[in-house]
Symmetry: C2
Subunit: 194 residues, 2 copies
DNA sequence: GCGGATATTGACCGAGCGGTCAAGGGCGGC
DNA sequence: GCCGCCCTTGACCGCTCGGTCAATATCCGC
């Protein structure tokens, strides 16, 4: 495993992460071997273990990096918007847009959630995202704009809609992201009968 | 692999499926070896391959059986209810109740969705469930009781809420299923602002 | 152009995997 | 009692995997 990183080294590391993400998404984590990853890059096996202590560490790093990036995107989208309902809407749209641009991460995250080795990292990521949403929900409940129900459950409900519609647009790839986002927002705000 | 099945054989097969389901749910599919499964039952390895052609077949059978059971539960719950909105509600409640009783299957299904070998089976199962929901939604749209939007997307949105709230109640196990179901239904019908 | 840190190679290793199979037990019918 | 089928055993096989390492290349400050 590496100690310091020169620019050249940083680039290699990024290549490995990108390549690993692609293969994990396509074939799954376990069926993808370290040999597959280095072969796809056309380098020796030692390169991998110069930058990562283990295959496990690569996935963990991918999960951390992707969550960091998604969260940054959400925060940028929300900015200093004051209306809590609108903050939720902007967060939803940012999430859908991010996944549309980083399709490979959906499968990776979904797998990680099912493996006891990575579930803790995933659970922590999710906790952070959910607690963001909960804050907005509570503001909305105080304002009387949002129905007075357990904010944690509501946050999970929203998260579920976003996740499933993301998954669906990944498969039915021709769906325009904006339209899906519109429906997602209106479903969460007004429900089926609104 | 077996040819015919005596009562004794059927019992063994059920034991293997139950045991496999438990271990796949706890540790994941790939990390669970066939040796683990037969060891947990205290039998020789050959027993497994007498009843299943491969480890893969066991998981496929688990997915088929669980989906069949869940669907039966939904249909029983809905019965001959005429109101489409109420049919959707009954379906949601049946799903949450079924998963509460078969917690081990959630992780298995979620994993299977990420593995290219099993995704087809999963996709087919999901398609069936979604098309059921779509039928109810269309009825509701014609009646003017449900907002006139793409029924397929709406069905996926509902499915997402159910899935995520299921996942959450599995982790936070003390949540009363009925209350979660109440929130799930009211969220889907009325949204956040209803 | 030398010295040391960074980066790369690929043969090699032990472990564990999914899957096979020759052999034998148990049990029902006759 | 004995035949024949259902069921079980567990040693064994070929293979792939994650991971190691001594040797070597590349690069940069001096």
């Amino acid at each position: 495993m590496r100690r310091k990183l020169t620019p050249r080294g940083r680039e290699r590391r990024d290549q490995l992460m990108e390549c690993g993400a692609r293969l994990f998404a396509e074939r799954g984590y376990h069926p993808t071997s370290v040999a597959d990853i280095v072969a796809a890059l056309g380098v020796g096996k030692g390169v991998f273990y110069w930058y990562f202590a283990s295959k496990e560490e690569l996935l963990t790093e991918l999960l951390k990096a992707s969550n960091h990036d998604l969260r940054k995107r959400q925060q940028q989208a929300i900015g200093d918007e004051a209306d809590p309902v609108r903050r939720i809407e902007l967060g939803i749209r940012a999430s859908l847009a991010w996944f549309a641009e980083h399709r490979e991460y959906f499968a990776i995250i979904q797998f990680a959630a099912t493996d006891e080795t990575f579930a803790p990292v995933l659970a922590r990521n999710r906790e952070i995202t959910i607690s963001d949403t909960i804050r907005h929900l509570k503001d909305g409940i105080v304002d009387g704009r949002i129905v007075d129900r357990d904010p944690a459950l509501l946050a999970h409900a929203i998260h579920g809609v976003v996740a499933e519609l993301t998954r669906h647009t990944l498969i039915d790839a021709n769906l325009p992201v904006d339209e899906v986002a519109d429906l997602c927002v209106s479903f969460c705000l007004d429900g089926l009968c609104g």
